[in-house]
């Protein structure tokens, strides 16, 4: 009982000691359900408002459900003249995908190099990476803007994507992961006569897809939801991402409730899908890595 290795317990959730009984269990489910309903209220409001007329939303009596579901609202953000919604969706998709692919590529390569390639000064290089973890990127947006604007990258995809690619934290996570990568697999690559580069792409990456998926999911979500940097870089509406566009609805002269909630719903939809289908990786990724964040 004293010296089981901690790792062996992690695999399976231990059965709880039974306590409470039927009443306690009912109370637990009641409390959890109430909390769940409260957590779902904002989603309910998005859907209700997005599919209602403004008259329903602003009426004297609270309408729990739209009196007449307005499916026509779905296309409205796309034909609205004040905000180029379609363009901002496209910008976010481009930025989100390229941001994710780019971050994964440079950070995983560097993480592998730092973890597995014997080089005399590797520790010093690693300290240079660790040093950036001391300074969160959000605090340095003024210096970064100064640099990017003098490069002439304001209002461009380059400006939106490239400065965000070099995440010391992601590199750190990859390094930690590769430190634990089984040495036997690399051994096999060596027997096959592969160099570092070949071993990385033919053996290491194909055997690490779960970890890549977890990091990719987290990176994509944070890229899609990012606001401060796109706000700083997107001076012209044509370079707005979806978050900047959503923000502009709130300060518009005329308030159009169903339109802004439909836009919000559309902006959240891709991520809800990501969540529903990739949640396993996401939860794994957070449980493995989030604690070190």
């Amino acid at each position: 009982m004293t010296t089981t290795a901690p790792g062996t317990r992690k695999s399976r959730t231990p059965r709880r000691v039974r306590r409470g009984g039927v009443m306690g269990s009912a109370g637990l489910y009641a409390a959890t359900s109430v909390a769940a309903v409260l957590f779902l209220v904002p989603f309910y409001l998005i859907v209700r408002n997005a599919l209602s007329t403004d008259a329903d939303i602003t009426g004297a009596e609270w309408q729990f459900f739209p009196t007449d579901i307005q499916w026509g609202n779905v296309t409205e953000p796309f034909s609205d003249s004040t905000v180029d919604f379609a363009r901002s969706l496209w910008n976010s998709a481009v930025v989100g995908v390229l941001h994710t692919l780019g971050t994964l590529l440079v950070a995983s390569l560097a993480g592998y190099g730092l973890a597995r390639i014997p080089y005399r000064h590797a520790d010093k290089v690693f300290y240079a990476v660790l040093g950036t973890l001391m300074v969160p990127t959000a605090v340095t947006f003024v210096p970064s803007f100064v640099l990017v604007s003098s490069l002439g990258w304001v209002d461009t995809y380059r400006g939106l994507i490239i400065p965000g690619l070099f995440s010391g934290f992601t590199c750190f996570l990859f390094r930690q992961y590769f430190l634990g990568f089984p040495k036997e697999l690399e051994e096999a690559a060596r027997v096959d006569g592969l160099g570092y580069w070949g071993a990385y792409w033919r053996v290491v990456v194909p055997n690490s897809l779960n970890f890549f998926a977890a990091i990719a999911t987290i990176t994509f979500i944070s890229g899609w939801n990012a606001f401060l940097w796109p706000l700083v870089i997107g001076q012209d509406p044509s370079a707005w991402t979806i978050q900047v566009a959503l923000s502009s609805y709130m300060t518009n002269q005329t308030v159009n409730f169903h339109l802004m909630f439909m836009a919000t719903a559309i902006s959240i939809l891709p991520l809800v899908f990501v969540f529903l289908f990739l949640q396993r990786w996401l939860v794994q990724g957070i449980a493995q890595t989030g604690i070190k964040g």
Binding site: L45, L130, G180, L194, G195, Q243, M260, K292
Partner: protein, 321 residues
């Protein structure tokens, strides 16, 4: 009892042992390959992280308005200006208040949800997903829901509607700094967005608590409920709790999105990053003062992250895994 706990948790993983054994590396020159792998990242880091910080440090000693090429050296005037500026010092106060609200509430709610979900015997995955789902929503989208629907100051806002059912007059939640209703809006939006994420961390930690501890406690006569929670669960969660609190603190420090969107263009209730945004990218475009502010904030946060590194093992290399 405590010794049992310690030995169970801190015993080193057996996989550390074979490190000493010499092994032949892969084919190719290690040094060249090292730079092939890390080069792109390190160059990017130098250009997009280190260079801006250096440039900004340089700028912070110059008068640089509407331009990023410094004109006149003014020494520490930018720093003096920022540190005596009511807006900037006020933003540090705002952060402190915000942290005092958001850190304990998120910690408690995330832990509470994790404890509830962990005890469920069926539909556990469903409830976990429900609490986790808000993590998918952006701060901007959530701010829009909070500002335009839940805490809308008008009669048909959700909160005011609910108050109306009880015969209470509606409240203008975001209209002004007094009474400070806006804190309720700001704190609840972040609470909703973050609680599920930290619940996942607590759930993972809860499932790593050795079941034997509870059994031993039961034999020793500990009552299930508060006693086991206080003397077993909570101490076992200490590492996770510390990490969560520090993470929450650093994230609160960087709060921008919800303040910007909920309190757009107000002179009150500005956290540090909003203040910096207004200084450097607002009407004055004072990059010198903005850079000085960024340097001050960076210094302050370095203290916190160094502390965080202490607790979470950054830089301790292999053993941090």
């Amino acid at each position: 009892m405590p010794t049992l706990t310690d030995s169970g948790v801190t015993s080193p993983a057996p996989s550390e042992a074979p490190k000493a054994r010499a092994r032949r590396p892969l084919r190719g020159n290690p040094t060249a390959n090292f730079w092939l792998f890390t080069g792109p990242f390190m160059i990017g880091l130098a250009i997009f992280v280190y260079l801006p910080i250096g440039w900004s440090l340089w700028l912070s000693f110059f008068d640089a308005r509407f331009t990023v090429t410094p004109s006149e050296f003014i020494g520490f005037d930018n720093y003096r200006y920022m540190l005596t500026d009511d807006g900037f010092t006020g933003s540090l106060v705002t952060f402190t208040v915000f942290a005092a609200f958001i850190v304990p509430t998120t910690w408690a709610l995330a832990l509470g949800l994790a404890l509830m979900v962990n005890r469920l015997r069926f539909m556990r995955a469903f409830f976990r997903s429900v609490f986790f789902l808000p993590t998918a929503v952006s701060y901007v989208a959530a701010s829009l829901i909070w500002k335009m629907s839940i805490f809308s100051g008008v009669r048909f806002g959700l909160m005011n509607t609910v108050l109306g059912w009880f015969g209470v007059d509606g409240i203008a939640w975001l209209a002004g700094p007094e009474p400070p209703w806006y804190w309720l809006v700001i704190v609840t939006v972040r609470l909703w967005l973050q609680a599920g994420f930290f619940m996942i961390l607590f759930l993972a930690a809860l499932q790593n608590i050795p079941q034997e501890l509870y059994e031993a406690a039961a034999i020793d006569g500990a009552k299930p409920g508060w006693q086991t929670f206080r003397y077993i669960t909570l101490p076992q969660l200490r590492a996770t709790s510390t990490a969560v609190v520090l993470l929450l603190l650093v994230q609160a420090y960087q709060a921008f999105d919800e303040f910007y969107n909920l309190l757009s263009r107000t002179t009150w209730g500005r956290p540090p990053l909003v203040e910096l945004y207004e200084t450097a990218l607002g009407e004055n475009q004072d990059y010198g003062a903005g850079s000085a502010g960024a340097m001050i904030l960076t210094l302050l946060i370095c203290v916190v992250t160094l502390l965080q590194g202490r607790f979470m093992g950054f830089g301790r290399g292999e053993e941090a895994k």
